[in-house]
């Protein structure tokens, strides 16, 4: 593909548009990116796009940003990645900057305070719904280790205030070790 200014402009406008009109976070933007870059523009093959989505979801950081980096890099190298990052970050940046200016002025308003207080219950319900369905998925697998991790981390974090970063590191190591032994025993059984 020829790397002319037009390509970068198209990359920028595509990711800007996707980011500005995608509500609901990373899990929503990835399929939309697939539609845009694989189905509409044919810049990336569909199978490759699925793998890129897997990488975006397994790497740390916002999924939308990760996916944008991968698509930009794949199409136009480091400069392409830079273009798509700016395209993805700019809409939420501008929107939140404007909101934060209003927020300082409006949060003291009694009607706004009452509205936000009411919305807290809604947010709590949304998070509870997400947590229950995700935890249900883990419990249904009927493996004791993930369930144990889930309970242990909740107790450690909520009741004892153990640092979240420390918990993530510990559980990452546990996951790596257990999957190593799992694949080893699977190989021995299979051999």
């Amino acid at each position: 593909m020829k790397k002319n200014p037009k390509l970068y402009l198209k990359l920028f406008t595509s990711t800007f548009y996707l980011s500005a009109f995608t509500f609901g976070g990373g899990y929503v933007i990835v399929p939309l990116m697939k539609k845009k870059f694989a189905d509409d523009l044919h810049w990336i093959e569909e199978k490759e796009m699925i793998d890129l989505a897997a990488i975006a979801q397994s790497a740390p950081g916002p999924i939308a940003v990760n996916a944008a980096i991968l698509v930009g890099y794949r199409i136009a190298g480091v400069l392409g990645a830079l273009t798509t990052i700016i395209g993805t970050v700019l809409p939420p940046f501008v929107i939140l900057a404007v909101i934060s200016l209003f927020y300082q002025a409006f949060a003291t308003n009694l009607w706004v305070a009452a509205l936000l207080q009411g919305m807290q219950s809604g947010v709590a319900a949304v998070i509870a719904d997400v947590v229950f369905s995700m935890a249900g998925g883990v419990i249904k697998e009927k493996k004791w280790l993930p369930v144990l991790i889930m309970i242990g981390v909740f107790v450690a974090n909520y009741f004892f205030g153990v640092n979240v970063i420390l918990l993530i590191l510990i559980c990452g190591v546990i996951g790596a070790i257990s999957s190593y032994y799992e694949s080893k025993s699977r190989k021995e059984r299979g051999a």
Binding site: S58, F93, G118, A128, V130, P146, F154, G172
Partner: protein, 192 residues
């Protein structure tokens, strides 16, 4: 050195929020509310609420919001940069190995261990939001006067509606907001 602190805090948020969306929430709460007191718990929940209703990742949204509040537009820029930088480095490295070996088994293993941990941490952050919505000051109440019956009823109704009819979360939150606005204006917000 507020810029450096903002950058470093959101660098950690970007580096350790794995699994997208809600996974960043407990990390942001730790950095912004618990460690630096840049936002009160109420302001933090407002940012989460706003994030749910606007496009863009929670991490970028809160980096922008906190950055502006603490150090103006420059603060927002460094905080956002801090949030995005770990992604750039790690994603490009992973992509490099992927294109080379086409194999992500080790990464998948780590993720298997992380998934239940992340669910637990989201639950933990969600519980503090629920307490804040239901009780004055966000702690278990000492007296019945500190219980927000409106908050508890709204939560139960919203949870029921989400489970039963799978309504779009944005509408559920707006509904809670509007009903809550009138009820709280009429009966008052406990503790405020």
């Amino acid at each position: 050195m507020i810029y450096l602190e903002l950058f470093w805090s959101f660098f950690q948020v970007g580096l350790f929020s794995i699994g997208g969306g809600y996974a960043a929430m407990p990390l942001i709460q730790t950095q912004v509310v618990d460690q630096h007191a840049w936002l009160t718990l109420n302001e933090f929940i407002d940012v989460i609420t706003i994030s749910q209703m606007t496009p863009g990742p929670i991490g970028i949204n809160s980096a922008t919001f906190v950055g502006i509040k603490i150090a103006g537009i420059g603060g927002a820029l460094v905080a956002t940069l801090g949030c995005v930088l770990p992604s750039c480095i790690i994603v490009l490295t992973l992509a490099h190995f992927y294109f080379k070996y086409q194999n992500l088994t080790a990464v998948r293993g780590i993720l298997n261990g992380l998934r239940p941990a992340i669910i637990a941490m989201i639950a933990s952050a969600g519980l503090s939001i629920l307490l804040s919505a239901s009780f004055a000051g966000g702690v278990l109440p000492a007296s019945l006067a500190d219980v927000s019956w409106i908050g508890i009823l709204l939560f139960l109704a919203a949870f029921f509606i989400l489970k039963k009819w799978k309504l779009n979360p944005v509408w559920v939150m707006i509904g809670c907001g509007i009903i809550g606005m009138f009820l709280y204006r009429f009966f008052g917000i406990p503790g405020r």
